[in-house]
Symmetry: D2
Subunit: 346 residues, 4 copies
Amino acid sequence: MFSFECDYHEGAHQSVLLKLIETNMEQLPGYGEDHYTREAADLIREACGCPDGQVYFFAGGTQTNVTVIDSILCPYDGIISAETGHVNCHEAGGVEYTGHKVLTVPSEDGKIAPEQLRKLLVDFYDDEAWEHMVFPGGVYVSHPTELGTLYTRSELTAIAEICREYKIPLYLDGARMGYGLASDASDLTLKDIAKIVDVFYIGGTKVGALCGEAVVFPRGNAPEHFFTIMKQRGNVFAKGRVVAVQFLALFTDGLYFRLGEQALDMAEELKQVFLERGFRFYVESPTNMQFFVVENELVRKLHEHVGFEVSGKYDETHSILRFCTSWATTREDIRRLAGILDEVAR
Amino acid sequence: MFSFECDYHEGAHQSVLLKLIETNMEQLPGYGEDHYTREAADLIREACGCPDGQVYFFAGGTQTNVTVIDSILCPYDGIISAETGHVNCHEAGGVEYTGHKVLTVPSEDGKIAPEQLRKLLVDFYDDEAWEHMVFPGGVYVSHPTELGTLYTRSELTAIAEICREYKIPLYLDGARMGYGLASDASDLTLKDIAKIVDVFYIGGTKVGALCGEAVVFPRGNAPEHFFTIMKQRGNVFAKGRVVAVQFLALFTDGLYFRLGEQALDMAEELKQVFLERGFRFYVESPTNMQFFVVENELVRKLHEHVGFEVSGKYDETHSILRFCTSWATTREDIRRLAGILDEVAR
Amino acid sequence: MFSFECDYHEGAHQSVLLKLIETNMEQLPGYGEDHYTREAADLIREACGCPDGQVYFFAGGTQTNVTVIDSILCPYDGIISAETGHVNCHEAGGVEYTGHKVLTVPSEDGKIAPEQLRKLLVDFYDDEAWEHMVFPGGVYVSHPTELGTLYTRSELTAIAEICREYKIPLYLDGARMGYGLASDASDLTLKDIAKIVDVFYIGGTKVGALCGEAVVFPRGNAPEHFFTIMKQRGNVFAKGRVVAVQFLALFTDGLYFRLGEQALDMAEELKQVFLERGFRFYVESPTNMQFFVVENELVRKLHEHVGFEVSGKYDETHSILRFCTSWATTREDIRRLAGILDEVAR
Amino acid sequence: MFSFECDYHEGAHQSVLLKLIETNMEQLPGYGEDHYTREAADLIREACGCPDGQVYFFAGGTQTNVTVIDSILCPYDGIISAETGHVNCHEAGGVEYTGHKVLTVPSEDGKIAPEQLRKLLVDFYDDEAWEHMVFPGGVYVSHPTELGTLYTRSELTAIAEICREYKIPLYLDGARMGYGLASDASDLTLKDIAKIVDVFYIGGTKVGALCGEAVVFPRGNAPEHFFTIMKQRGNVFAKGRVVAVQFLALFTDGLYFRLGEQALDMAEELKQVFLERGFRFYVESPTNMQFFVVENELVRKLHEHVGFEVSGKYDETHSILRFCTSWATTREDIRRLAGILDEVAR
């Protein structure tokens, strides 16, 4: 298998594995009461610049989204998301399973525009029947989005200000956070994010970990008894070390950030490989997911040699292809891809 | 830390870690569509003697219990459990979170007696108001139980027959399955269990894995679209390999069974260490959890040197202590414990 | 208060009240086991031409929708609805509270077009990630719709055929059923509906009852233990007679149908009153809800004399007004409205 | 049918019906925004001595219990109830359907003893694993209880004080409130109850109404947007008048209290009828439900002439019978029952 289909094809970065090996036989208390969990949380708090932050480790993204969203909403609240949001599309109705509606705004680029958010909120409270409707009770954004795009600091700040005005929480899904932070296209740092939003998660699964995501409530603002909420939904590892030790490795000496840069460097090379061969972008993405418009016959041939995602139909004769790089992508992989393109396009 | 408090203090057995390392950089499809997931499932099916079985990998026990139980019940059903059952006590109301009541039967030893089950079912349908009550819609047993006890083949068969008569599913929680299978006190093999019950899980977290449990529907009887049910509740790993590769190691060359035996051998030695020193059992457990009655002043002193669980109060001056061995317990550990006992009891 | 704002301003039709009075002191068993419940169900079965039908009485529409939809879906299913559907807009997220997503199709007229439904289903199963998404597990239509429009027999049949092809249930919300059946704009009879759809309800609250809706599973196809499902959600009246006796009155000598006709006659006169005075329709509705485009200044003045709903903004200077007639609307009411229009428009 | 089986055999008290008739054709706004709803709430606030109280009208008891309990608990909370509590036994798992466990205390007489409550709370926080367990997050009591017994003012106050100490709400189910208030066996008035508990409901269905219960949050302490919570669960009548007008009648000129007294007078006569004929009590109940021990052969014969509930088996040859009086029971009914006893016992 040789594939750019997604950014979770490989296992863990070698430093992550080594840390797991190194700590393996140490006897530790369960359920996140071990010292590695504390140390990993400390490193994350430091990287986020939020000494009062609370950090919780989850196994995966859907679980994280569903539990966080349910825990920050009132029972009558829905969560506002771009139509393209992961919680609206690819979590099998996890949010609804917890009793909440996803209130969508149309989106071309995966982002919510501040003015869209304001309009939704103004319209809701203008409606005479608002008490019979789902309350817009929180906002979900992803950064990078599902389309690889990024918020700027001013965009995210504008959204956060509207949330504050309406007293609703802002939640940022950072499944691919590392790939967003490394991009030049956004001026948002991890510390900015921790200042601006109410809760976010730093994705491990897609950025060098075997599994795991780190939820941060940056101002000590976790819902009461959040541990028990996690437990109730089956989100707590008996061996809390499983995820904590991995984040310990990722946040030691800035590894997490370097993995992001590595993936973006490779994305840049991948772009060139395509552009040099006359392909065109579907959208210009500043992160590790690149979208191209490719003629269908060629798509078929390519698929014999390399994995990628067909994101959709472009027109009758072309498709939109998604190629992802990751922390594990090497220059050799890019060269091999270039060779395949040359071979196939001949 | 030196502790017999539980059986999940260490990381993973070395063979499990090695398999993770060995397969780490292989590119694999996500969400359980990789070949290791298939191979692990094949080995499990073979070990269970159920060629038509369906195998699903989960991250942990609570998640497994909650999702399996909800998926096999009708909306108006409750699940029957011993009062001491894990789902009734230590899962923070996970079953209730999915909308179902736990219908309890009193239990001294952690087990449900067949006659208790029959009485509950007869009484329910005898009650004129049954349609206003929670239906007894399934049975939950654990093997070993939370008290370390075991069902015999004839006991489990008797329960299964009642379930069949009432057309309700029987689910077996095998969080510590390996420690049950290795015990002489039960004549139940893994194949027996697969024949007798409707669904069960083979616990990895407590028997050599970093994390993970393998659910088996032995007769191809999984609820429709069980994958999507898992996904909706956030139970699916993007990197399905995380758990699958571990079970691949555990079910290669009977490692899982050997780990169980290792723990039981150590439990036997641990017993002797206590008995030789004049301690007495609270209950005689045939598995890896051993319960002793210890005088409170001694408990306090012991706690300075070794970890264990205080399971409860025995009388005004004595407590019930639980000591667990595991796959990771060594003869050296037992010797050290003996030394501590000698030291402290002087 | 003088109002055309909705069709539930008055209490019950006199025959309904009389039946309640007449039967009031008779001692009856509770929870729907009384003979009036049986008789009302018999009359409804007869009116629907479905001798094997099962009839259940609920207190109100939202409760009915939410319980029926949840009971006919699998846990991973969503319900397909027009964007304008009541379940999507004005039930405070009741469907999501039961764990299901509302999958919407855009709609100008409140209806789902058969081709829209087919496209949604085809697209779903064409998507490679379908197992990660909410399944299109059932269809919700309302007749009349929230915009007063009606399905024709061939439209509803086409939808039902697609449902059958995909093995998903079709549910029809008949909150205003009486006003749809009386309209010339649809060729659907109650018996047609009972033949075509899988479950529907006959609305009482808006058509002459104090409260109550009658759910019909026309082919004995109610989910198992539907009574207990209702009970669990608090939908069962201790005095089952409360709703049953009202439906007994409504389905004696065709009263329900006559009430529908009365409302539509009055709607016709109301239309004329507006058209004769130069107002124009927003949409031409064939039922008891009429929509007009009215200049904002005039809206303000009108509101001093008569109640109506402002359904939305038409343009900067005009609004869309909704006027409802009902079983209780009299010719005198229409005359009074005409007088107000003359007075105000001067 | 001639029956003492329950207290909801008849329709509504004549004054209630009259009020419905009298107000029937008045045009009123929907969803509880009408003046009768306000007036009924005012009368209830006055009767309860709580000028800041918030009053909400529901259709029935299970619905009321389920919605109130869910709305006052945190997601990780269970509700403490006597084992015999209605929410634990006869609501088909409604509380669990909303995601909460019922935490039971054993009870012979249907009541929770203050010391039982304290022990449960102390034990919970003493348990090292408390964060893995269902929190005792609220207390449910019924008054009268399901066994017809009553709390005294000092008992209820003691419970309330423990609740305040642990900062958990106390909820009182008053399905049969009228029959409790009229009893000499309790010194609790409606005003006392409103002072002591955090939320309660005044039952209408069993005390003279066709349907309906009035929930009171006596200190303006309703959960935020409680209306929308009700709406979401299908608890809101479009015609809010349906229940409000009935309570208007019940709380005009103390009718509600008189109906309670009438039922208790009849219960007193019923007791005498049994005692004079040599029957013995199962328990001595101070309210409208009376329990007798009757020989099985006689039970069979009695059942041919009069309705009653067989509450359980007393011994091999005797059963426990429950006879209820209600607001509708007349002296003539008691005489007729006496005649039947004489006839049958011969």
